[in-house]
Amino acid sequence: MKKETFLAIFLGVVFGFIFALIILGSISQSQLGKKTKSLLPQKKEFSILPAKPTSLKLLNITNPKNFLIIENDKVTIEGEVEKNSLIVIQSPIKDLVFQNKEEKFKVDFPLALGENVIKIVSYPQNPNLKTQEKTLFIYYLPNEI
């Protein structure tokens, strides 16, 4: 084979490879870009509303919902109320008395089969605040859901 033919073949191979690599590189980069975009955390929305002013906390039970059917023989009661309140939680099978160090409180409470009337009462440390109460009707009925 002549020197020129060999040079032409060599140049053709190099040209072909460079061209193929450039195109493949650009394709893989665009795919990587898509993946990276999906992995990035989503933009959080910021509220422009002013922060809530600190006010006296009313007794609020966030969990469980009233009149709920539960399959377990215990429930987690979660709520919030004024700090350092004396909280009394009573049902026909359990009495619980404690003081909440933080506004939020969370306690596990046992349930009896059938209807559980749970009375939650908070006595605020501040004597100017009124005693508050909530009543929950929770039904422990296993295998009924």
Binding site: I9, I69, Q99, G114, I145
Partner: protein, 232 residues
């Protein structure tokens, strides 16, 4: 350029363009195949998420209704709930099941075992007309409340309590009544007796929602918060 050089060079260019096309096609195919698999996987995950969310919502929203039977006839029961509101409960001979709850156990019963004034729990679907009952449980109704002790009878062992809603309730302290007193220093509950209870104390009580022969409620248990706690 020499014809001898140009021809192989042109052939090579064509060959590599063909090779390049093949590579592009292969990468596209692999890409679209993996994209398909990825989409399928995402769809599966989404399906699972929707199914678990639906189950969770169902669990979170599966409610029961309870009340005292005021009227009963075949296929239809009328109950009065805690709000004194009347609700209709529809039963089905084949679908509705009946149970009695006693001592934390349930026992299957029949429709014919239900009677007026029974306290029942109904699980089922609420419609505009009423509740289509899947299950009906006969249960005990309890009164769980609290208030201030305004009167104490040392001879007959009863207490008069005024609740937060200004309702006056008379409570008999029976021999079986479990009596607890809050230790205001440790905030622990301690066993107590009738003699330690004072007028002015707060009382939390549980009683069966049926008055006894003295026209008072028999307390199952009481928790007393001494008035001294509020003077701290």
């Amino acid at each position: 350029m020499n014809k001898k050089i140009f021809l192989p060079f042109f052939a090579l260019i064509v060959f590599f363009l063909f090779l390049f096309n093949l590579l592009i096609f292969a990468s596209d195919k692999t890409g679209s195949d993996s994209a398909k698999k990825e989409t399928q996987k995402e769809v599966e995950i989404l399906k699972e998420k929707i199914a678990s969310k639906v189950a969770e919502l169902r669990r979170q929203n599966f409610q029961a209704f309870s009340g005292k039977i005021v009227e009963i006839k075949k296929g239809e029961i009328e109950i009065k709930d805690y709000n004194e509101e009347k609700k209709k409960v529809f039963t089905d001979d084949l679908l509705t099941k009946y149970y009695l709850i006693k001592d934390n156990q349930k026992k299957e019963i029949n429709f014919s075992d239900l009677k007026k004034d029974d306290y029942i729990i109904v699980s089922g679907i609420l419609t505009d007309k009423g509740i289509s009952a899947n299950m009906i449980f006969v249960d005990e109704k309890y009164l769980v409340d609290f208030g201030k002790i305004v009167e104490k009878d040392k001879n007959e062992y009863w207490l008069k309590v005024v609740t937060l809603t200004n309702e006056t309730i008379s409570l008999d302290i029976e021999t079986f009544t479990k009596q607890w007193l809050l230790n205001i220093k440790s905030l622990e509950l301690e066993r107590t007796g009738f003699s330690k209870i004072k007028e002015g104390d707060m009382i939390h009580f549980v009683a069966k929602d049926k008055k006894n022969e003295n026209n008072r409620f028999s307390a199952q248990k009481i928790v007393v918060i001494p008035q001294e706690y509020f003077l701290k």
